[in-house]
Each structure stands twice: as C-alpha cells, then as structure tokens.
Amino acid sequence: MSTEIMTLNMGPQHPSTHGVLRLVVELDGEIVEKITPHIGYLHRGIEKLSEHRTYHQTIPLTDRMDYLAPMHNNLGYVLAVEKLLGIEVPERAQTVRVIMAELTRLKSHLVWIACHALDIGAMTVFLYAFRERELVMDIYEMVSGARMTSNFFRVGGLSKDVPEGFVPAVQNIVDTFIGHFDTYEGLLTKNTIWLQRTVGNGVISAEDAINYGLSGPPLRGSGVDFDLRRDEPYSGYEGYDFQVAVGEKGDTFDRYKCRLVEMRQSISILKQALGKLKPGPVLADEPQVCYPPKEDVYNSIEGLIHHFKIASEGFPAPEGEVYVGVENPKGELGYYLVSDGSAKPYRMRVRPPSFVNLSAIEKMAKGSMMADLVAVIGTLDIVLGEIDR
C-alpha cells in the first residue's frame, strides 16, 4: 500500500522540543522518514558580541548560552582566558570551581531527567527532579546572588569567596541526593513501560557517534570511554577519584544509565571536594588582570582607580590562540579564543555540545515512531540557548 508522506512542523512552540527547536518531520503514518532541524530562533550573536567586549565583560554572556549549566559555561571561558594569559588559579578557587561545576552537572542532569521523563509521560519524576534542583539553585543564589545567570567565576578565580553556610548546604546535597536518585530509579529503571520505551530506542553505534562528533553522555552511552575531566583534566580534576560511566548499546536507556551514574559520581566528587576545601585566597595575585578586593575599592583611591581601570579598559592579552574544552553536562564545551594583543578577543568561537549532538538526531530517530523521536530529543539533552548562541 502506498501512503502519503505527511510533513509535520514540530516547534518552535511544542511541548517537547525543549525551547525553540523546530523540526520539520516527514511522517509516513507514525513512522519518521526525515527530520530537518531548523535552528536559530534563540540566536543572540554571543560570539560576535564578545569581540566588542573586554575579556571580563564576556563572562555574563557565557552563562546565557547553556542556561541550564551556567557555571560550566563560565568555567570553560575563564579557563580559556587564563590559558591565554598563563595565570595560575589558587587552590581554593579551583576547588570551589569543581564544587560549582559538579553542582551544575547535577542541576543540568536533573532538568534532563525531569524533561526526558515528562516527554515519555512520567509526570511525577519531573516535579521531584525540579524539587531537588531547587536546592542547587539555592546554592547558586547563595554564592552569586542569581539563580540562573550566575556570573560567578572571574579570570583568575572567583568573584568573591563562598559565604558562610555554603559547606553545610553542599553537604546537605551530598547526604540527601543519593536517596533521591534511588527514587527516580525506582520510578523509571524498574518500570516496564520505561524500559520498553528506552531500550533499543535511538541507537547510535560507537563508530557513528565518533564520526558525528558526539560528546558527553551520548558518546559514552555508545561505549566510547571519553571524559575530558579525566582525559584532559582542568581545574584540578586530576586530584579526584571518580568513574566514567560508559554504556554498551548506545540506546536511550544506556544514555539514561550513564547520566544517572554520572550524577552519583558527581556526589562522590562533591564529597571529595568538600574535604579539600581549605581556607585561602580565591583570586590569583595578578593585579593586571584581577579586580581588587571590594574593601580597597570602597576605602582607597588607589583601589578605586584600579577597579575602574580594569572595568573600563580591561587587560591586554598576549597575541595567540587557545582552545580549552571542558566536560559540560551536555558534552564537550570548547572555547576557542584568538587574541591580537588588545583587550578584546579578536575572535571567540564556542563549540557547543548540544549543536553537535543535535546533528545526530536524524541518524538516531529515522525509521522509528513519532513517540521515539520525542524520546530521542529528550535523550540528546539539548539546550537551544547553546545551539543558537
């Protein structure tokens, strides 16, 4: 029987396209024949904007890219600038960065499991995960004053030291979250319907995953053992003991398991990082680059001038180009900076993991059913802010 192909426009307003993704799907009945992603609805020209801003002024732009993992975006960017400048970051700042990065991973993965479960119909997990995410948000607010657009890291360290109550709050997360993860697994991993929906869905082989340039859980779910935190450690990750979760079949269930193991590992890293957290400076001793302490700015004319100079002129970076990749919750987030010796980058290019991961959507969902496509969008864990930039 010959059937008519139906073209369905999914998005940009659609409950499960996670923001403003637009997919033009060609359907043969319920079977997906072709998927054409249309992106750019959230394009704000962040890369171009950064060429007209000093290095410090770009930091707030970066946390608007992957708005589910803002601190990790900040981290990648400041690491790139620090590499360009050749600055060493103090021990305490590095540890706090690791804590915030892992909390960010938890936060991002919690949103992922929430939306993924909701797309497949498990409504309760959604609300549970958002309840837990709120605790991470509280810590965000505690350290940076903002729940999403954190802008907390600075070139050379942190904007300020973490406040009192930070350690107990993180400790609370370390203590309670494993139990919450068990709840999710109880609701999902042990649920036959969940297994039916995820096992064998959106399969991508290890070879294909590498060829598409996938990274993060979509890559590891296919059995490729690659994690930048371990393979190209940054911010002191070499000093932590953690496992990299690797799947086997490369289906949605394996990616789901990978992310859940990652969340458990994050808790373990957090535990170790809390042990390492020793008092000390949180900003490198680099007066050319780093802002002076706030007391100096308010109380001395030299401090005020110092602050004003860095804020208005920025600092010149040596000529050259650097690339730094960090293991964002979504995959490899890379910052490529070209400097012509001025106080503004000549070019900033971001390698957004979601953008690259999204390219595999047709490979993963073609020939499956409409409902599987939704599951694949969920399992890719894309953020449009990062794809469009």
């Binding site: 319920e30 797309d119 119909g121 498990a122 309760t124 969940w194 929906r197 409409m370 409902a371």
Partner: protein, 329 residues
Amino acid sequence: MTWDAIDIGLMLAKIAVLFFIILTLAAYLVLAERRILAWMQDRKGPNRVGPQGMLQPLADLIKMLTKEDLIPAAADRVLFAVAPAMASIPAILTFAIIPLAAPETIFGHRVSMQVTDLDVGILFFLALSAIAVYGVALGGWASNSKYALLGSIRGLSQLISYELSMGLSIVPVVMLAKSLRMSDIVNAQAEMPFIVYQPLAFVIFLVSILAECRRIPFDLPEAEGELVAGFHTEYSGMRFGLFFVGEYINIIGLGALASLFFLGGWRGPLLPPIVWFFVKVTAFSFFFIWVRGTLPRLRYDQLMHLGWKFLTPLALVNILVTGWWLSLR
C-alpha cells in the same frame, strides 16, 4: 405497559438528580485529581479559591465559559462544533443504566435507584462506548490540523482495540450472572463479588477502561509530549471543557461499572448501599489518579501489542476457562 404520571415524574426526577450528581462529581474529580497529584508530587495544588480550593471547579467553569471560542479558519465548522458533544454525551448516557443503590420502597411505590434497568444493559453500555469514538475522531479531523488528525487517528484505533478486550472481559461476568441486566448482575453478587471468581477478567477490564478513558499510560491520543494536545489541540473554551469533563465523567462511569461488575456494586456490610457504591467508585477514581502519578506513556505500537496480542487473547482464554468451569459445576 402503563405509564402513569408518577412514573414519568419519578423518571424525570431521577434524571435531574443524576445529572446533578455526575456533573458535580466530575467537576470535583478534576479538583481531586489536581490535589492528589500535587500531594503525590510534593507540591500544593490549587488551594486558593475557597477553602482548600473547594470552589476551584466553579472558577474553572466561569473561565471556560468566558473564554473566546476559537474555530480554526480551515476547520469543518459544523463537525468541529458538534464533536465535543459527541464525546461527552455517551459518557453521560452510560449513567442511565447504573444502579446507585438498592431499590427502595417509598410510599408503597417501589423505586429502583437507576434511571432504567434495561434488559440489554451491558450491550447498551458497549454501544455507548462504541459511539464515544466519534467525538474523538471527528473532533480531530474537523480541526484540520495535523497534530489533531494524528491524535484522532491514534484515538480511533486505540478505542476500538480496547473496546474489544473490555467487552470480552465482561463476558465471564455475564456468564456468571446469566443476565445482561444490571440489577441481575448486582443481585448475583449477593454472596460473593465476582472479583473473587474472576480476578483475571477484573484486571483486563481495569486496564481496558484505563485505555478507554485515554489516561496515562494510554493517553496517546492527547500525548502532550508528542502531539501537543492531540485531538483537542485546536479547541478552546467550553468546547475543550466538554471534552475535558467528558473524560472525567467517563472515569466515574467506568469506575462505577467496574464496581458493579466485579465488586458487587452497592452491596456491602454495615454502611448504607449508596455509601458503599460511592466508596467503590471513589476508590477506582483514586486508582486512576495514582496510575497517572506513577507510570510513563506507552508507544503506539506497544499499545496495540498489549491490546491485541495480550489482553484480547487472555480475555478469550478466560471466557473458555469460565465456560468450562461453569459446565463442570
């Protein structure tokens, strides 16, 4: 058959009371669902309108009625307008055969607590659930929207598939009661509710009515993650409200039938019959809500497999076994 004025008046009174009861119940079931789900999900739920949100259904009704009634430009206007009624009327009509309590004698007049005790009660119910398909199908088709069309095609195939297993799972009940009449079925359970003899049929019936109500895990026709809102994507205001209320009336109606078929209807010790019946229906409604809070959604082909390759054969085998057992007895 003689119809005197009392009978007609009684009938009209029964219909009026029943209407009031089911509409109120349905409205409060919506509220109950929201509150219970909220409780399961560790949040508050609607609690602002009136004490504990008890006036929320009223507020919702006002909102629905005052909303703009949008009809898409390319829609089939007549069918689009009629479809919500087609979906909710069969749900309401089902209550005509449901006995709410034991017959009472008032002023020497024997009054049965149901609108009509049809000889072919169960068939009437099956016929109504067969027509209920039209609301879903035509509503989606008339919207002239692709999501709605996909939703209504899904709805069509789901409803007719699960009607089959639902119908087959009631057959053993009819075999045990030796009647299609509702009152006979309830009376046949005077000693023991049928769930004791027919646990399998009960389970099949329960799963099938979940699918008939289009509830999670079978809410594919309106799966919001995939089809936005499925067959009622284009509906707004009270037309959407009719689909919505129809769904909840259906939950109550099917819950009532499940308790009539398998739990002995209004029969129970100590408490008055009407209370027992209410308790049983509420228990089924709670079960529906609970399932929604727990399970994810099936995929279309998995849904069909479950219906055709598992439930229907199982129901057939169950009929054969029941027949064999009855012939031995």
